[in-house]
Symmetry: C2
Subunit: 424 residues, 2 copies
Amino acid sequence: MVDLPFPKGFRDMLPNEALFRSKMLRRIEDIFQLYGFMGIYTPKLESMKLLRAKESIGEENKLIFELKNEGLGLRYDQTVSLARYFIMHSNLPLPFKRYSIGEVWRMDEPQRLRYREFTQADIDIIGGDSVKADAEIIAAASKVYEAFGVDYKISINDRKMLDEFFAKLKISKENQLKIMRAIDKIDKLGITGVKELIKESELKEEQVNEIIKLISFEGTNTEKLNYIKSLIGEEPASEIENTILLLESYGIKAIPSIDFSTVRGIDYYTSIVFEFKTSGENAALGGGGRYDNLISNYGGKQIGAVGFAVGVDRLLDVLKFQESKEITPAEVFISNIKKENYQYALKIANDLRSHGIKVDLNDSDRNLSNQLSYSNAIGFKYTIFIGPSEQESGKAKVRDMKSGTETLVEIQKISEFFKASTTK
Amino acid sequence: MVDLPFPKGFRDMLPNEALFRSKMLRRIEDIFQLYGFMGIYTPKLESMKLLRAKESIGEENKLIFELKNEGLGLRYDQTVSLARYFIMHSNLPLPFKRYSIGEVWRMDEPQRLRYREFTQADIDIIGGDSVKADAEIIAAASKVYEAFGVDYKISINDRKMLDEFFAKLKISKENQLKIMRAIDKIDKLGITGVKELIKESELKEEQVNEIIKLISFEGTNTEKLNYIKSLIGEEPASEIENTILLLESYGIKAIPSIDFSTVRGIDYYTSIVFEFKTSGENAALGGGGRYDNLISNYGGKQIGAVGFAVGVDRLLDVLKFQESKEITPAEVFISNIKKENYQYALKIANDLRSHGIKVDLNDSDRNLSNQLSYSNAIGFKYTIFIGPSEQESGKAKVRDMKSGTETLVEIQKISEFFKASTTK
C-alpha cells in the first residue's frame, strides 16, 4: 500500500469521528429547519465558466480544482451554485430561504486545520432585502454553535459603510478593493503589516492614518457607532445598528461586536459581513454576509441576498471530535455460544431490530472468546449470550458490559427489556 | 444566464425533492445502524493511481473524471476507497462492518435515469468470511427497500460457481472474463445477443450451447441448484444455497432467486453477486457481491469482503420523489400584521423554536396579503397572526391553513398548543 499515495490536504475519518460528524450534520440540519430554511441539492461540479466568472471569488481563482474533461470544476463554495440555481429555477418562493450542507474544494496550500476538501453548512435568504434577514441568518448560525456548546463571538461590519468612509477620504474605487484585501489580512499581518500593505497604494499619509485609526478603533458598539457616524453621518451606520438591535430580541448568547477590520476575503459581499470565532483561541468558525449583486451579475434579476456558512470541519476540530470514544450507535451484541445457535441468535436480532433496537451479531465464524473481545472493542453496552441451554429454555442471558451484571430475560420480553434499558 | 452552461448528466433538486432525499438518506443511515454498521468518511477524490489500478473496475476505466492537477480523480464507487482505507488504518475492529453514504461520479454517456453524479449508500463487511456476512448484507439492503415500500426482487449468483462451470467446459481464464462481460449485457441484448457475443470468443458450438442452456435455465431455486449440482457437484453450489437458507431466518419479503446470468459489471467481484430490481419495471435498484481479493490486490492482507450499494438516485426516481408536495418540514408561519409587530412576532418565534417547533416568519418587508400568499405557497399548516390587538391582549390568532379554523391562543400557552397539534 505504501506506493498508493494518499492526496495531501485530504483526510479520512475513523468510525468514532464519522459518527460524531454524522450526528453534527443532522443537528445542524435540524436547526436550519427550525428556522424555516428549506434544503436544496446542487451538483458538486459546476462549469468552469461559472466558477471563473470574475464576480465570484476574487483573487482565489487559482484555487479551483479543474477537471480534465468538459470544462468542469469542483465548487469552491455553495453560494455561486446557489446563484446559478436561483436563476435557473424561476418558481422558487420569495424570499427564498435555503440551506445546503456538503463538500467544497479549494486547491489551497494544505496546512494544520486547513483542508482541500471540507464541508460547509450554508443558509441563505434571497430576496429578504431588509436587515431582518441578516438578523435571522446570524441568529440561526449562533444557534448552531450554541447547540454544540462552543464559546463563540461574532464580529460584524458593513462594506457599504466602509465604501462611504473611503469615498469621504476621496480614495479611488480601485484602491478601495486593494485596501479591503489588505485589511482582510489583519489576523496574519497585524495592524503594522496592514499599514505597510495599504501604503503600497500610494495614498496620502493622512488617508492611511484615517484608515488605520478606524480599523484599530477600540470601544463598545455604541462608541464605535458614534465614531463612524461622526465621520460619515447617521444613515450609513443604520443597517449594522438595526441588525444588532434585532439580534437582541433573539436572545442569542453573543451579540455581534462591530469590528471595522472585518471585511471577508470574498469579492461578492456588498454590505453587512460577519465572522464567528471561538472566544479563546480566536479560531474561525464560519462567516457570511450580504451579496446583493451576485445574482444580477450572473444575468439574473437584481435581488438582495444574505448568507452564512458553518465551517463544519473547523467545528469538528474545535470540538476535538477525534477524542470521541463512541464508534457505533448500536448498543447490543448477540453472541452465539455454539455454531448451531446462530440461527436462533438471528431470530432475536430480527426481533430487536424490528423494534428499532440497534443490534450487531456474530456474522463471522468466531469462538465465544473472540466474540467477547469484539463486543468489548466496539463498546456495546450489552452482550446477549445464546447457547444450547438458553435456546432450550427460551431465555437469553444479557450482560451489562460496564457493570458485569447478568440478567436472564425471557425471549418474548427481550425487546421490552432493551426498550426500557436504552431509554433510561 | 443562458450563456452559463449547466453540465450534462447532472441535476439540481428543488426543495421538495431535496427534502425527500434528505429524509431518505437519514432513514437509510438509521437502517444501516440498526444492523450494526459503523460510518466512515473518505474524501471524494482519490489518487488516479488507485482509481486506475487494474484490479478495480475493469473496462470502465475510461469513465473516471480526472482532475487537471496532482494526479487526482473523482471516485467512481466507494469500494475502492474502502479498500484503501482498510489498508491505511490498521486498528479497525474485525469483522469491520461499515457504511458510507455519498456521491460518486462516472463520465458515462448521460441518459434517462443515468446521472454522472449519483449517490450511493454502501454497506460492507470486511473479514466476515462466512456466508453469514453475505446474508447480513442482503438482509440489511432488503430492509432499505422495504422501508420505502418498494416492491423489489433479488437475483443472486456465484461467480466462483460459474468459474467452476467454465472450468468443467475447459474454457480458458481469458475467455471466462469475456463471457462474463457478454452475459452482463443480457438486459440490453437479450439471450440471442449474448449468444452472438459469446461466439466471438471462438468457442466450440457445444461450449456455447452449454453456456446458453445454463443462463436461460428456468425453474425454482431448488431446480436450478439441482441442475448446477448435476454439472459441477454439490460443494460449489453450497455457498449460494446456505446464503438463501440464512435469509429465510431474516424474514425478508423477497427471498433471492438464483439467476445464472447475474454477473455484475465490475471486475473485482469473486463469488456471491446479487442485484436488486423493482418487481414490475425491472429497474435496477442496487447491487453488490463478494470481493475477496480486492484488498490483497492493493497490497493489504488477504481478507474476504462483501458489500452492497443502494442506488439512491434510482430509488428516488422509482419513488417519484419529484411529485412530493412537501417543501419544508416547518409547520408554522408567523405573520406580523403591522410593521411594528415584528419584534413581538420574533419573540414568539424564539419561544416556539426553543421548544423544537419549526417556524418561519416574515423576515422580509411585506404586507399581510403577501405574507399570506407566501405561507400558502410554502404550505405551512398554521399561520399565526400578530397585530396590535393580539400584542396588547397577549394572545395570538392561529389559523389552520387547511380548514380555515382560527383559534385565539394565549401567548404563554402557544408552544403547548403546537406541541399538541403537531404530534397528533
